[in-house]
């Protein structure tokens, strides 16, 4: 499978559209960092209005860790679109170009090809998150420096000592990777059913947006649905900034995401193996 994976990676990174995601993340992260650098103190003061009435807050609140947290909260919801751009194109794009039928007349197993393409999509997804981590965490630390991380939640304030934060980001990015891999797996599955990539990309985003709305709406009926929606578990990265970390809940979310990935991959392989290539 390695030679096919290399070919798939070569194809992905030979396309200009692949770099749109990296450029988009760079621009968004840079804009947020610039805004916080210029006017961050006011933004923090506004956010902590209720706290400052009762507490004295000292030190570098607007530090790299907080900036990274703000970026992740803003950005992670949009990253699925960037991932769907490539994963949704993996099979459908080839069908649209007519190259799928050329590929499948070669002595390559269908499942083998599918796995190589899936693996290439995962590499792309992980590289995108590494890039995001480099910009959001390391660049923010470089610009804003270190400090304790203070996070305002709806019912509490979590303050994490600066030497207790970095490893949490490691886990958070790992968990975010799992979430994004799940999105990639969904887009990839939908890609198998389509003959052009617009369909899978839009459908993936529609599902993510719909589920996210259902996850965040505070209506009792939707609350019943929440545990069953993968978007609920995709937000599990935030739990690494709780104190203590709810490991059981995090593990459960991770397991659910993994099961989704496995289900999408197995279903995709089953469908693709039987699919008539008419494109």
């Amino acid at each position: 499978m390695w030679p096919i994976l290399r070919i798939e990676l070569f194809k992905i990174f030979s396309r200009p559209r692949t770099y749109i995601s990296f450029v988009a993340i760079t621009v968004i992260v840079a804009l947020i960092q610039l805004a916080l650098y210029v006017d961050g103190k006011n933004y923090i003061q506004f956010g902590m209005q209720s706290l400052t009435q009762g507490f004295d807050i000292e030190g570098n609140v607007l530090n790299g860790y907080l900036v990274c947290f703000i970026i992740l909260q803003t950005l992670l919801i949009h990253v699925p679109l960037l991932i769907a751009l490539v994963a949704g194109d993996a099979i459908a794009g080839e069908a649209n170009m007519g190259t799928l039928r050329i590929l499948l007349t070669r002595p390559v197993g269908r499942v083998e090809l599918l796995l190589a393409k899936f693996a290439a999509s995962l590499v792309y997804t992980l590289l995108l998150l590494v890039w995001m981590a480099l910009l959001a965490l390391f660049l923010s630390l470089f610009i804003f420096g270190k400090g304790d991380l203070m996070i305002l939640k709806s019912e509490e304030v979590v303050v994490l000592a600066q030497n207790d934060v970095f490893w949490r980001y490691g886990w958070a990015f790992l968990f975010a990777s799992l979430s994004m891999v799940m999105v990639a797996a969904l887009a990839f599955l939908l890609s198998i059913f389509a003959d052009n990539s617009i369909g899978p990309i839009i459908t993936t985003m529609s599902i993510v947006i719909l589920f996210t709305i259902l996850t965040t709406l505070d209506i009792p009926f939707f609350q019943l649905l929440r545990p069953w929606l993968f978007t609920t578990h995709m937000l599990g990265w935030k739990a690494f900034f709780d104190d203590p970390i709810p490991w059981q809940a995090v593990s459960q979310s991770a397991a659910i995401l993994l099961l989704h990935i496995l289900f999408f991959a197995i279903l995709g392989a089953w469908v693709f193996k039987r699919k008539d290539i008419l494109s």
Binding site: K11, M97, G98, R101, I102, L103, L104, R106, P107
Partner: protein, 313 residues
């Protein structure tokens, strides 16, 4: 002799429409096998089944004596194909496309080898150019280079002359002959252009609505010297009476193509003689239409003008 391709009882339906209906034929080593049928006859579906792109509902496909479903990789290792359009990665260069498809076939040719293959199809000087800048003819040639990059024993070409100018069509014809005669490959070529097949095929099959009409050696199936001659006359009743007492009767077909028309199948050099005799007998000849060899043969085994029009234009 073991056939290179062997199809038996092939069936395939799409949403109740039977695209291939009990089709079976053999292609032998060294054949240039013409696969003929009008648009929608089931040619592409059959070729896609042959290349494992489509799963048949019933029937068996063997390549090189191996069952395709059980030995897919081994079978496809020896096959090169261009199906419908020569689609390649337009955002990559010609060289990269060739290298990718070579590796998918499990070979890692040296740069020199790939350049030689590009040179064979006249693309060596454009090796580094992105395919999106290529003309249709250049893409077609690259598609063929991609199909041949692993030196396959069987070459499958589905409508290889589609969208090509006359020079391009001639190039493909010469290539097919070269592959068979000089390199000893077996070529299975589908087309709806009868004249193209006629010039290269050694064996052929004609299919219609997914079924075989005829199959065999081209030389056994029709006499290239015979032409289909449609004569429009002023008085067809008198013309028939005249012909019934002449040797021309042997060439007259029983079909009634039109009110004032007579249909013959005859050597083309006899046409002026027949024309002269009809005129001398006082029968005005308004028009003579002739179609030759394979086209005439096809028309002789099928009926319906629409059928003919679809096939020959």
């Amino acid at each position: 002799m073991q056939p290179v391709v062997s199809l038996r009882g092939l069936e395939k339906s799409f949403n109740g429409f039977k695209a291939v209906d009990g089709l079976g034929f053999d292609v032998y080593p060294g054949d240039i096998y013409g696969f003929l049928g009008q648009n929608g006859a089931g040619k592409s579906t059959t070729l896609r089944i042959l290349l494992s792109l489509i799963r048949p509902d019933a029937g068996a496909v063997s390549l090189f004596g191996m069952n395709l479903l059980q030995h897919r990789k081994e079978c496809l290792q020896k096959v090169g194909a261009v199906i419908e359009k020569p689609d390649v990665y337009t955002y990559l260069s010609a060289y990269d496309n060739l290298a990718i498809f070579a590796r998918l076939n499990g070979i890692r040719p040296r740069r020199q080898q790939l350049m030689e293959q590009l040179d064979t199809v006249g693309l060596a000087d454009r090796a580094a150019s992105k395919v999106k800048t290529f003309s249709q003819g250049m893409k077609q040639r690259l598609g063929i280079a991609v199909a041949l990059v692993h030196n396959p024993a069987l070459v499958v070409l589905d409508e290889p002359t589609n969208g090509l100018d006359p020079q391009g069509i001639a190039d493909i014809r010469n290539l097919v002959l070269h592959l068979c005669r000089e390199q000893g490959k077996t070529v299975l070529v589908s087309s709806h252009l009868l004249a193209e097949i006629e010039q290269v095929a050694t064996r052929m099959i004609i299919i219609d609505k997914g079924k075989m009409l005829v199959e065999g050696k081209v030389s056994d199936l029709f006499d290239p010297a015979q032409s289909r001659v449609l004569i429009t006359v002023s008085d067809p009743v008198r013309a028939r009476q005249f012909i019934s007492h002449q040797p021309w009767q042997a060439y007259l077909k029983t079909d009634q193509p039109g009110d004032n028309q007579l249909l013959f199948r005859m050597p083309k050099e006899q046409i002026p003689v027949l024309n002269r005799e009809l005129v001398m007998a006082g029968i005005d000849v308004h028009a003579i239409d002739t179609t030759h060899s394979l086209e005439a043969y096809f028309l002789s085994i099928t009926t319906g003008k629409q059928h003919v029009a679809d096939f020959t234009h």
